[in-house]
């Protein structure tokens, strides 16, 4: 209905390989981008700070994991550890007096190096074995963090992040934090959108589908797996650093524990492997829906006037939220991104069921 394709033609291959082939998609994206820009003026500061900001930053992180899991097909259960590497190295660099711009890049690069170590595991093992290997590395990281006072400041200590400053401007307001995170998330999204139409993206997909088939096609799976891990780790590192710099303000090992790794993976899977818009949905689902369900349940119990005891009240949202994930994955195993795709397809061929010829 909203998707109009007539008159869209391409006079050269550059135009043919543009990101948005459907004008409606481009317009929708532009609209959402503008909405994102205007968010600080529309959304109350509390919501901006406690919903929008974490949503965007975790989306950036989830997109990084999607790169390695969704695109390159490598299961990764140690993503939080890689984020931690980035966070700690960036903060240490900043504390050392390195400007934040460089500190963030240092964080990203350090993550990249450490994250590439995971790649070497991925070259040897696949599937469940890779999952287990990355999980093991997550535990190793956790152990290193908690047992190296030099890095974390001790087992139960936390590390204070210096005030974020970019381009000589100290950033202290909520709006400021929001724009920094928004900028990063947009950057990662643009990168991922472009990844789809580059040789790198296609090589990653080839490796995902069958790495030895990719090798027959002349795609060096060794090289591309390392590249995928390194790139995704860079995104993880910067996202981790920004998470601490704009949201937590202090870094602690528990913030990057194994449960966080699993949570990010859940975001990617619920959102849809290999889907960019899906990552946004997936993060919203995992991060924001529990709060919503909680509010809803409380409001309902108040509205109905039922005396539900506090313990039950605490568990119902969790149950509902868990059920929701199960239902979504039952309806569409490819996640929320695919659900969106289905709706888009439905409207794309409107009013026909499918368009032949």
């Amino acid at each position: 209905m909203f998707y109009r394709l007539s008159g869209v033609h391409h006079a050269n291959y550059v135009s043919d390989s543009r990101i948005f082939k459907v004008p409606a998609d481009r317009n929708l994206t532009a609209f959402i981008f503008l909405l994102g820009l205007a968010a600080p003026f529309i959304i109350p500061s509390l919501y901006l700070n406690s919903y929008m900001l974490p949503w965007l930053i975790w989306t950036a992180a989830a997109l990084g994991l999607n790169l390695v899991t969704g695109w390159a097909g490598q299961l990764h259960l140690g993503y939080a550890a890689v984020m931690a590497v980035g966070a700690y190295s960036a903060i240490h660099a900043a504390r050392f007096g390195v400007p934040w711009e460089f500190a963030l890049i240092i964080g990203g690069l350090t993550s990249s190096v450490i994250g590439s170590l995971f790649a070497f595991a991925a070259l040897r093992v696949k599937g469940l074995y890779l999952a287990l290997t990355t999980l093991a590395m997550q535990f190793v990281m956790d152990w290193v963090l908690t047992h190296s006072p030099m890095i974390s400041g001790g087992s139960h200590a936390s590390l204070q992040a210096p005030t974020l400053a970019l381009l000589g401007q100290e950033i202290t307001s909520d709006t400021g934090y929001y724009y920094v995170v928004f900028g990063w998330c947009v950057l990662v999204t643009i990168f991922m959108l472009n990844l789809k139409r580059t040789a790198l993206g296609r090589a990653l997909v080839a490796v995902r589908e069958k790495d030895f088939a990719a090798a027959i096609l002349g795609v060096n799976s060794f090289y591309y797996k390392i590249l995928a891990f390194a790139t995704s780790s860079f995104i993880a590192g910067v996202s981790g650093a920004l998470l601490v710099a704009t949201f937590y303000f202090l870094a602690a090992p528990e913030q990057f524990s194994v449960s966080v790794s699993i949570q990010v993976l859940a975001m990617v899977i619920v959102g849809g492997l290999g889907s960019i818009i899906g990552s946004y949905f997936g993060v919203a689902m995992i991060l924001l829906v529990p709060g919503l369900v909680n509010g809803l349940v409380v409001a309902m119990s108040n509205g109905l006037g039922t005396q539900v005891n506090v313990e039950t009240l605490a568990h119902i949202p969790n149950a509902v939220y868990g059920a929701l994930i199960v239902i979504i994955l039952l309806i569409e195993p490819l996640g929320l991104g695919k659900l969106y795709g289905n709706i888009r397809d439905y409207l794309m061929v409107w009013p026909f069921d499918q368009f032949k010829k």
Partner: protein, 639 residues
């Protein structure tokens, strides 16, 4: 309007002058877009003119000149269009042929004029020309091809690629100062633009030469009548050997600087049309019918909500449009329903078929069914009818946007005079009317008297000047009872049924009328699928009782319209479609009555002698040229 017409005529009266004008004044505008491997390659007017000049120079070098002809063989390709222009710059005859033309049909062209070269689309067409050469056309000394695939190892004298020809021509152009201007100005308005052939429903096709003056006058008349504006986007998909294609895609495109979009292949026309979304679209009634069938079949297969919405808006729009065509108001809520329907249903459908930017849409060549016509009007496409023939460069009479009626074809265009003679035949006089049949003085004398063209169509002018066409004069027939009828008129009304593709009405000199019909395989096949009617082939399905029951209402509807003695009494559904390769219809799908009556003499006899079943063996010509047979016994059905 006159200002504009004068301004445009000042551009010149010849193809060369117009091409030069477009190249110098609008050199950077896009003249052509051709889809190759998914990409629309663009050519500006300046580039196009240069390529045409180079082609002309190259053709001249290989001996093309006044009095000689160049065969153009293939589907629509930008280079074939360029080649046609180049040939007309040289004052020679560009002779396009249908890409599916058989050797026999092509051989007929040879006797008329000396063909010295051929421009072919691809290997298939080159092979055909080589075969033609083997069969006595030694005169074709050069064959130029567009698509090189499969031709790499051919060792034939005079076979060259288009690129090579251009290279040669470019060399000549650079060597000879002033050749460009000379080529642009060489041909005079009276020189040939194109060498066409009549469709040949009654005999061998006659050669028709349209001069540059003729075709450009037709284009100018069309513009003056508001058929098209300047800078239209059009899709070049009509057969190049049909006059309508030349009038629009070449003549009007030059005059009004259209952007001509050439689809990748015949099979991709639907998708390519969506990508281009032309602003002007001309199609034969059967193409409109086909698209209607596709839309209806698509909607039947759609989901319940979409289907309900579609019917909700479409049924109301059709009802409103029918009221309007009958001169009543569309209804109070019509504008509102139209607005909402446009958003919900009509807009998306038009978008799917690339019709969302259409400013004018035309149907011509035959009568169009009421259902089809009203459907497109209801969809919001301002479909109009036009009337024209090869002899008068196609653009002759057309409906004005606000004067659309079903039974008329509109008023004659400015610059065209029309009158009806005593016998009821339509006579036309215009600058777009040809000079006479090629080398056929008797036929010419019959067709042209004092500058008036005898169209061969029976018709009349209404009080407000609207022309009504009834059918071919030569086709007016009489039953044994002396009742006068035009079989084509009845056949067209039968064909308005989506399930009937072709029909032949029989009854000349007989007591009553009967018909042989060919069902539409797509529509009936889909109907059979939905209704659980099993079948294995076309011929099997065509003989099923359920199908006979499906077709019967079409006959009943016709019988309600015609007078008592002209009612159709019986019919037979033929086990194969009429096919131009078998000679039953022309390439423009007009019935060759004589051939059909000879070939199905047994069936016709059975229709009248009271037998219940007749055995038929119909001839089928395969694309390889082999001839096979379809044998089947056909039940004779009562209406």
């Amino acid at each position: 309007m006159t200002d504009l017409t004068e301004k445009m005529s000042s551009g010149g009266e010849t193809i060369g002058a117009l091409l030069a004008r477009n190249a110098s004044r609008h050199g950077k505008d896009i003249a052509l877009r051709e889809k190759k491997r998914g990409i629309w390659e663009e050519t500006t007017w300046a580039e196009y003119a240069e390529e045409v000049l180079a082609c002309a120079a190259g053709l001249e070098k290989i001996g093309v000149g006044p009095g000689k002809a160049v065969l153009i063989l293939g589907d629509n390709r930008a280079r074939l269009y360029g080649g046609m222009l180049a040939v007309s710059l040289l004052g020679a005859y560009a002779m396009p042929a249908y890409p599916g033309a058989t050797l026999e049909e092509l051989r007929h062209f040879l006797g008329e004029v000396e063909i010295v070269a051929a421009i072919a689309e691809d290997q298939e067409q080159v092979d055909k020309i080589l075969e033609l050469k083997g069969a006595g056309a030694e005169g074709i000394s050069h064959i130029i091809y567009d698509e090189a695939r499969g031709l790499g190892f051919y060792e034939v004298d005079g076979l060259m690629s288009w690129d090579h020809l251009i290279e040669v021509g470019q060399h000549v152009l650079n060597e000879t100062p002033g050749l460009r201007e000379d080529l642009f100005g060489r041909a005079k308005p009276g020189d040939p633009a194109i060498f066409m052939h009549s469709s040949g429903t009654t005999g061998k096709p006659k050669g028709i030469v349209l001069s540059q003056k003729n075709v450009l006058a037709a284009a100018r008349n069309g513009h003056a009548a508001g058929v098209f504006e300047e800078n239209e986007e059009i899709l070049a998909y009509l057969p190049m050997a049909w006059v309508g294609d030349f009038a629009i895609t070449v003549a009007a495109a030059l005059l009004c600087r259209f952007t001509v979009n050439v689809p990748e292949r015949q099979e991709t026309v639907v998708r390519d049309m969506r990508e281009i979304a032309p602003t002007f679209y001309l199609a034969a009634p059967r193409s409109w019918d086909q698209m209607l069938t596709t839309i209806q079949v698509g909607m039947e297969n759609s989901t319940p909500v979409k289907k309900w919405l579609y019917h909700f808006f479409m049924d109301r729009a059709i009802a409103a449009e029918t009221r309007k065509l009958n001169g009543k108001s569309g209804g109070l809520l019509e504008p509102f329903g139209r607005l909402l329907g446009e958003v919900m249903v009509f807009g998306p459908i038009k978008d799917q078929f690339g019709m969302s930017r259409l400013r004018s849409a035309f149907t011509g060549g035959e009568a169009i069914g009421e259902d089809t016509f009203v459907f497109y009007r209801a969809l919001g496409i301002k479909l109009r009818q036009f009337y024209g023939q090869t002899e008068n460069s196609a653009i002759t009479a057309m409906q004005a946007p606000n004067e659309v009626r079903l039974h008329t074809v509109g008023k004659p265009a400015p610059g065209v005079e029309a009158k009806i003679d005593e016998s009821g035949e339509i006579l036309l006089r215009a600058e777009s009317v040809f000079e006479g049949y090629f080398n056929k003085p008797e036929a010419t004398a019959e067709a042209l008297t004092d500058g008036w063209l005898h169209t061969g169509d029976a018709g009349y002018l209404e009080k407000d000047g609207q022309l009504v066409v009834l059918g071919r004069v030569s086709e007016v027939m009489h039953t044994a009872g002396g009742e006068r009828y035009v079989p084509n008129y009845i056949e067209n009304r039968l064909k308005f049924s989506p399930y009937i593709k072709d029909a032949a009405v029989i009854g000349a000199g007989l007591d009553e009328l009967t018909a042989m019909v060919c069902m539409d395989f797509e529509a009936v096949g889909h109907w059979a699928e939905v209704n659980g009617v099993p079948y294995v082939s076309y011929s099997d399905l065509s003989q099923r009782d359920e199908v006979a029951a499906l077709l019967r209402p079409a006959f009943e509807r016709v019988n309600k319209v015609v007078t008592e003695p002209l009612r159709l009494k019986r019919f037979v559904c033929l086990p194969k479609e009429f096919d131009p390769d078998d000679g039953e219809i022309t390439r423009t799908r007009k019935l060759r009555r004589k051939v059909v009556q000879e070939r199905y003499a047994d069936v016709i006899a059975a229709l009248y002698d009271g037998t219940k079943e007749v055995h038929v063996s119909a001839q089928v010509t395969y694309e390889t040229g082999e001839v096979g047979k379809v044998e089947r016994s056909l039940p004779v059905r009562e209406v």
